[in-house]
């Protein structure tokens, strides 16, 4: 690889690789029976974010099917999932780990502008 190509590749890595991801906005979401806090998050189209999720009681799930973002939230641990908002609109997310009576109404919205 020529030196110029190598520099371009390194620059691209800095922009889009792990270093770039570490600069992404982090949104912390707390789950408990039977709600997420916050239950609505606002994102900018084309700007990826890192979601950090914890649970205050039992195991939960975070699932945003429109963005294929899916992660299980285990008590005592921080669950991370990267969400790439590649389209504008309002989208649902749900808890997809059955957590009790109220699970079926547990969810929130993602607003992308």
């Amino acid at each position: 690889m020529k030196r110029r190509q190598l520099l371009i590749a390194l620059a691209a890595g800095a922009l889009f690789g792990p270093a770039a991801r570490s600069q992404e906005r982090v949104i912390r979401i707390v789950a408990k029976k039977f709600e997420f806090t916050p239950s609505e998050i606002r994102l900018e189209k084309g700007v990826p974010v890192m979601l950090e999720l914890t649970t205050e009681d039992v195991a939960m799930g975070f699932f945003a099917p429109d963005f294929k973002a899916d992660v299980e939230i285990v008590p005592g641990k921080v669950a991370r999932v990267r969400l790439v908002p590649d389209k504008a609109g309002t989208f649902e997310f749900i808890c997809d780990v059955f957590c009790g009576d109220g699970h079926e109404d547990m969810g929130g919205k993602i607003h992308v502008t």
Partner: protein
Amino acid sequence: MAIDRRDFLKLAGVGGAVFASGLAGCAGMSMKQDDFYFVQLSDTHWGFKGDALNPDAGGTLQKAVASVNALKVQPDFIVFTGDLTHTTDDPKERRRRLAEFRDIVSKLNNKNVRFMAGEHDASLDNGQAWKEFFGASYYSFDHKGVHFIAIDNVSDPAARIGEAQLAWLKADLDKQAKDAPIVVLTHRPLFDLMPAWDWATKDGAQAIALLMPYRNVTVFYGHIHQEHHHMTGHIAHHSAKSLIFPLVAPGSKPKREPVPWDAAQPYKGLGFRSVETETPAKITEYPVKA
């Protein structure tokens, strides 16, 4: 005198509606088995309380049992495809509901009854209480030439079948001829009906991939509280009505929600079904009668 199965619909005491295209997945089977029929009941949610959705939540299951007992030609067997009870965080209450459910369905005249768990029964304790009452949560059996496979996609609260059960499924299927008539019973849909409404199985595609080489497979499931018919390739999937309250049709509302009780048409949207395995096999839907 042997009763022609084609006469069954005329003889059945409670009436019903026939799903016109029948069991598409079984239509081409070689039919070495004897004709018979079974009854599927689902999503009884014993222990649910909510007058706006079902003011007779404490009596609907008993009415369904009476309706099945009233069938003039009794089925070869009866299967409950999950959510026998409504969920509760209290392990004692869960067992109390399971015991009450078992007592009520013990009034079925036909004692050949197969049970499956739903997420309301099993997801909060990985199926522990349910197994105390009903045994293994996944199993297979043969009946008059048809191979039945019950798949558990609810004991894992994340709606997975899991590697161990998928390996068991593969081993079970390996013993079957490629044209064997196979009926799969499960609670959640194995295909992605509506993942945003939790109407899917995380690793259901793996189960379908294992079933795909078999030419005569039909799946009966519950969970979505309404009749629904879908094909994945040549495999037909048929969901059953609930015996507690219906849910809205997939995608018809922004969110999954129940259909309120209609006092002018009590028990509307509730019911059970019979499945005849003759060629072409037929699904007949029966209402709950007051």
